[in-house]
Amino acid sequence: MLLRAGGRRLLAPGLRRVLGGGGLLADPVAVGGGRAYHERVVDHYENPRNVGSFENDDPSVGTGLVGAPACGDVMKLQIRVDESSGKIVDACFKTFGCGSAIASSSVATEWVKGKQMEEVLTIKNSEIAKHLSLPPVKLHCSMLAEDAIKAAVKNYEAKKAKLGQKGKVTAAEKAAEA
């Protein structure tokens, strides 16, 4: 009788404290040994921006493909550049990788839009990491995003150079396309 009543009083508040609201579960950092995802990473994962693909052959598109499946991270970042102003008018990405990698590349596409190509080359992985509060173990994801931006720009420039060598014919083709 005593135990029955006493037991419930003993256990219920304890359970409520341990399992219910406050305490361990409500504090994201405490769970998982401090490896909590920042809200922004989760947001980019849940609502990814700029997922998609541009035509690879399009001369105004630069494609950066970095990483390796063996490492668990592959990012494809594409930029569409306005020929005359050298400004990036659109960007999209596709990523095979963890949540942090997806978020890093998503952030990268957001940040390059509307900027000059020279400007985006100055985007540092540390800025991306700080924006997403990436833990040390995930810093390589932001590095890969930085590499992807650079690779996309490089690819665009290489394409432009190759097309430029072809001379007038190409200019006429481009005029016809426009």
Partner: protein, 453 residues
């Protein structure tokens, strides 16, 4: 008993992981509480807010304690709390009697004698005693250990430790289906082999090794056969005599028992001797000193008793649910690989690789289902699971694996919901995946020169 009956509804309501529905079957479910039922139960975790607790499908990591087991344990916490080694009063005697009864139940489940069961803190400790204890005891005559590449970390680490002490270890490779090549094992046995250690059911991929064959070979060659049966106990029939097992590691929290207790089986005929790893008062016949934790041990015994009765039913049910899960997922997404043999498998463990999708990102999307992954990102280092690598799974596929665990309390609704969520997330991630895009365009991914940084 009355105490526990009154407490159980409190536990069910407050615990949140068990629903508050009246019917007994539903009450035992670990399905997430519906959102409208209790808003205060909403959980914010890792920056993510989910309505109620996730569906638990990670039975290989641990299992919920069966309420019947908890019933058996509680009196030993609250009223019969004596130390089983106290020889002078009722508390000690009744505690000791309970321990011995539990020991008999554990022994019965594996076809052993009570005197061959020694309680420890868990399968890790058992593996340590088995590997290090046996080799150190016979260190003058036996210098070689044989094990497999897919063993649990504690076995592999104990072997590495022995290597530092000067012993030699052979880590046998496994076939792509996860099974060890028995002929290769037989060849590897040397005159100075002191132990063969092969786990019964693999925790990651669920494959069942051919224990009878291995046991027969070891018996012929006079080498003790140790098996880590933590995932096998109570799930597949084990008979230590039929399988020629000399040492066996058992764990309670994999069969709906409490965490913190396990048992080591040590054969008496022929007697296997070990050097104790814990020094102390000589409890457990000198094999493992330390007070035997009566409530945990009683819980272990109760879990074994229940498992003995319900093993067949659980097995058939797990098989049905696994088939349902597999058909449900395969029916909606393609490019899926099952890791490990389908024929020699415990049905409660399904390890799938989803091509072109990374494991951690899939897990992040599956936050309403508690599953595990063999992906690098989820391990402390950035290396993919060594078990999957041992199977010969390519690194990019090893990054994509998800392990689904089905258990006694898994319901069909949970499986259906898991299918729904998994398919949704896989499709979403494949849309985001450059590899899927390239594969669909017909590009052979193996031919690409990746720019590694």
């Amino acid at each position: 008993m009355a105490l526990s009956r009154r407490l159980l509804p409190v536990l069910l309501r407050r615990g949140g992981c068990l629903s508050a529905f009246p019917s007994a079957a539903r009450a035992l479910s670990t399905a997430a509480v519906p959102a409208d039922a209790e808003e205060e139960e909403a959980v914010t975790i890792k920056g993510v807010r989910i309505s109620g607790r996730p569906l638990y499908m990670d039975m290989q990591a641990t299992t919920p304690v069966d309420p019947r087991v908890l019933d058996a344990m509680l009196p030993f916490y609250l009223s019969r709390y004596g130390n089983p080694h106290s020889r002078t009063h009722l508390y000690g005697w009744e505690s000791d009697a309970a321990v011995e009864e539990a020991r008999a139940r554990v022994a019965a489940l594996v076809g052993a004698d009570s005197r061959e069961i020694f309680f420890t803190s868990g399968a890790t400790e058992c593996n340590n005693i088995a590997v290090k204890g046996v080799m150190r005891f016979y260190r003058d005559r036996r210098r070689h250990v044989i094990t497999t590449q897919t063993e649990h970390k504690c076995v592999l680490d104990s072997c590495r430790y022995l290597q530092q002490e000067g012993f030699e270890v052979t880590y046998l490779p496994v076939r792509p289906d996860g099974l060890v090549d028995v002929a290769q094992l037989a060849d590897a046995i040397r005159p100075d082999t002191g132990l063969v250690s092969v786990m019964a059911v693999n925790n990651e991929i669920g494959v069942v090794q051919p224990l009878e064959e291995i046991g027969r070979i070891c018996r012929e060659k006079g080498v003790p056969f140790h098996t880590d049966a933590a995932q096998a106990l109570g799930k597949i029939p084990i008979d230590v005599n039929q399988m020629g097992i000399g040492l066996m590691s058992l764990s309670a929290h994999k069969i709906y028992g409490p965490k913190g207790v396990g048992a080591l089986y040590l054969r008496r005929r022929p007697r296997i001797r070990v050097e104790p790893q814990m020094s102390g008062g000589g409890q457990e016949r000198g094999i493992r000193s330390g007070t035997v934790p009566t409530p945990l041990v009683v819980g272990f015994g109760a879990a074994c008793e229940i498992a003995a009765k319900e093993m067949d039913y659980d097995y058939r049910r797990a098989t049905t649910l696994q088939q349902r899960l597999l058909d449900g997922i395969r029916g909606q997404v393609d490019d899926i690989v099952i890791n490990g043999s389908m024929e020699h498998r415990y049905p409660g463990n399904l390890n799938l690789s989803f091509a072109y999708v990374e494991g951690e990102s899939l897990l992040m999307g599956l936050k309403e289902v508690a599953v595990s992954s063999g992906s690098a990102c989820t391990s402390a280092s950035l290396e993919p699971s060594y078990v999957l690598r041992a199977l010969g799974v390519e690194e990019d596929m090893a990054h994509t694996s998800i392990r689904f665990g089905i258990g006694r309390f898994t319901t069909e609704e949970e499986v259906d919901r898991a299918i729904e969520l998994t398919v949704h997330q896989v499709k979403k991630l494949r849309d985001m995946s450059p590899l899927y895009e390239m594969a669909k365009a017909g590009i052979d991914l193996k031919s690409i020169q990746w720019a590694q940084h």
